[in-house]
Assembly symmetry: C2
Homo-oligomer: 452 residues x 2
């Protein structure tokens, strides 16, 4: 090892730069050189914020950038933007970096892989036409926003009814577009059970969004200039001057795979709970890794900013001789579409079944305030618990105006290994502006406790 070691980070997203920042905090510039290679022009931006850039709720692109390359450089992190790592040699301990002009080979002692995810792009006719947008990078978001501002027909088709699909549908709806969401499955948000998915479908339609389920997109139609002018799905034409692809992302693991780093069952870079990969001195974090689901014990791919930040922090600590662990996930996710908020945590009935659990589920209707208090909007809560033990396995919530963060109570209870009966007793906050005297979470827990 050289007297001054060198930590290389591949990828300037939140995971990579969290790792770099944490490493910098723990090691002086004299001890450790830190170089981060980012393909694009931006670092540490919130990909989760892109829908709100597109909708116009956020004007300033810089607002999505937690720390710019210049900020990182001022912290002593040598960020090199426009620098794509195209090869990784674990024996030579080098990366090959393609810049604007040339490829250079750069050495490393320690390495953090944070190559993120790539949006799924099905091989459809017309998929690469102008007017078809994936949403993964800040550049994607800016391009879509600008196109939306210019669009004359103001008709959008969103392909995919998952989280990003719904958020993009909201964004285009708020832009004043007529929006059609097309999903190949029977409901939006496949992470919800059908009964809860049906509520989301109703909510979307009540907003004026056209929702087509069990419908496959056959092709993107283009005009004479090669611009998208619509989508053909199940044989029907849907006019659109903007087509947004919201069909999910894959972990970007090609570089790691080619170098011989182990890829796991869920398709992401495999790591232990210290974010160490199969290669000595190589850590990985963020949307390129898979992680452990704490309830099933299985590997899952959950690309989400909150995990990316935590994992990056852990990788940065361990890459500098520290000892930190990422404890895995329980699949908590929240989103909204206009006034409707949707959250889930743990296992749905479908997931519990697939994981081999014997379980019961209960669904209740409650309100976000005391029933008599003005603005007591409805909340529907579903809870899944294991038969025999009574252990909480999962929960789903649909509500309005701020209601969805109540999923965190259920996430915390599930994380703690509580039973449904234990949850039903907790001393939660009560006052009429905030909850009925029997909080919905307690009622749902009591209902499922009686079944297990």
């Amino acid at each position: 090892m050289s007297p001054r070691e060198r930590l290389v980070v591949i990828g300037g997203d939140a995971a990579g730069m969290s790792a770099a920042a944490q490493a910098r905090r723990r090691r002086s510039v004299d001890e450790l050189e830190i170089v981060a290679f980012e393909r694009g022009a931006y670092t540490s931006y919130s990909a989760c914020g892109l829908p709100y850039l597109v909708s116009g709720q956020i004007d300033d692109v810089d607002a999505l950038v937690a720390r710019s390359p210049a900020t990182h450089r001022a912290m002593g992190i040598d960020v090199r933007t426009g620098s794509q790592v195209v090869a990784l040699d674990l024996d030579a301990r080098t990366v090959t970096v393609r810049g604007a002009d040339a490829e250079v080979v750069e050495p490393f002692d320690g390495l953090v892989i944070a190559t993120g995810a790539v949006p799924a792009r099905p091989p459809l006719p017309g998929i690469d036409a102008d007017g078809v947008f994936g949403i993964q990078t800040l550049g994607d978001g800016i391009a879509l926003r600008d196109a939306a501002q210019r669009a004359s027909e103001r008709r959008a088709v969103v392909v995919g009814g998952g989280y990003i699909g719904l958020e993009m549908a909201e964004a285009m709806h708020q832009r004043g577009f007529a929006v059609t969401v097309i999903d190949a499955g029977p409901q939006p948000l496949a992470g919800l059970d059908p009964d809860m998915g049906a509520i989301v479908a109703r909510a979307m339609r009540s907003i004026g969004i056209e929702l087509l389920t069990d419908t496959r997109v056959d092709a993107i139609e283009t005009d004479a200039t090669g611009r998208a002018r619509g989508v053909v799905a199940a044989g029907e034409q849907h006019a659109a001057d903007i087509v947004v692809l919201g069909i999910g992302v894959h972990p970007n693991v090609e570089l790691a795979r080619a170098a011989g780093v182990r890829i796991g069952d869920a398709g992401g870079v495999a790591t232990d709970d210290h974010m160490a990969t199969s290669a000595p001195g190589v850590w990985a974090a963020g949307d390129c890794v898979e992680t452990r689901h704490r309830i099933t014990g299985r590997s899952v791919f959950v690309p989400l900013g909150t995990h990316a930040n935590k994992q990056g922090r852990v990788a940065g600590i361990n890459a500098t001789g520290g000892d930190a662990a990422f404890p895995g996930v329980i699949g908590t996710a929240v989103t909204k579409i206009c006034a409707y908020e949707i959250g889930r945590t743990g296992l749905s009935e479908r997931e519990a079944r697939a994981a081999g659990f014997d379980f019961a589920a209960a669904r209740i209707d409650s309100t976000a305030r005391a029933g008599y208090y003005p603005g007591a909007t409805p909340i529907t809560i579903k809870v899944v618990a294991e038969r025999g033990t009574g252990r909480l396995l999962g929960a789903q919530i649909i509500g309005q105006e701020g209601a969805v963060k109540r999923i965190d109570v259920l996430a915390t209870a599930i994380w703690a290994g509580m039973t449904a009966d234990e949850l039903s007793q907790i001393d939660l906050g009560y006052a009429p502006p905030f909850a009925p005297v029997w909080d919905g979470a307690l009622v749902a827990a009591r209902k499922v406790a009686a079944l297990v």
Copy 2:
């Protein structure tokens, strides 16, 4: 025992009627007669909703009544309103009930005491003048609302800066009154630590509410007709045509005490976790009882609708041969004053010190949404944890617009016995409209984890 047993409930509040309803659910009318004696005219009303009746946010008095006497009667519960129980004879197993015309002696086999609480009424000159209002019963709320509608000066003094004091200050402020809150202590909401109390004080003043701390009320001033026209406090006159007493309540235990039922250290009827009193066949529930604080193990008096309902349910189950337990409280409480929301759970620093814990505390500033998302209002979170074990002891939150129910995550973690480090890792819901990528609860937990 007679072939048909008789369960008597003293008090028609939420606790008493929850007990009656639960007993009715478990025993047929042929098996068990259930008689509930209520001094006033209403049953099962939400005392917590009174401030919103006074403010005018709730128009309809009936909206606060979960179940009317007629509804209870239709369920097979013999509710007798206008019936005050004035004596209890545990040997004869009778209660003496004073009605409109006469006193009658009524027998019971089982008994549930749900006599509620009585507002503190300090022996000040003028305390009984017209225009001075306590807030405990639905009748109190109606009287104050009607007086507020008639008042010409529209100046209110609220005596006491606790939960009810703040809620009444909000109500009078929303009615368009100039409001002064006078508290004998150094801050509003004594359940918060001074640093958090100071934030509440600033918030109140920013709304335009005058707040006087460390100030004792000497007298209520009255005019020639005997009506209140102001308050004298620390030698200064504060004009008011409405004076609201918000200085807390005492458990109403005189009947129980006189009958020889054991009263506990916190001044409430003492019960075990089955809500059984020291007298065989006699249960108690609601604002007249004291309960166990799960963290300190000590007896506490926490009059709150959510506990009253749970305790009533437990009493009703056990009074009919069932087996249910009330697990105690951790002191969770939430309130709001105009746009500001305040919550607490577990132990404050002050309470942790009094209970003999060695602890550390950390306070952080976060936002209710991603910082870049419109409407990302501030949230301040304070967490207290035990040194050595790292166990979470308590938390306090101040925020805006729906933020305060996030205290429930901390309540759930504390209830589960989690450490600060464990809490800092939980997979909480993340999306920009709902939280920063590092949720404030996680940040606060991590900060305090580093100190313990």
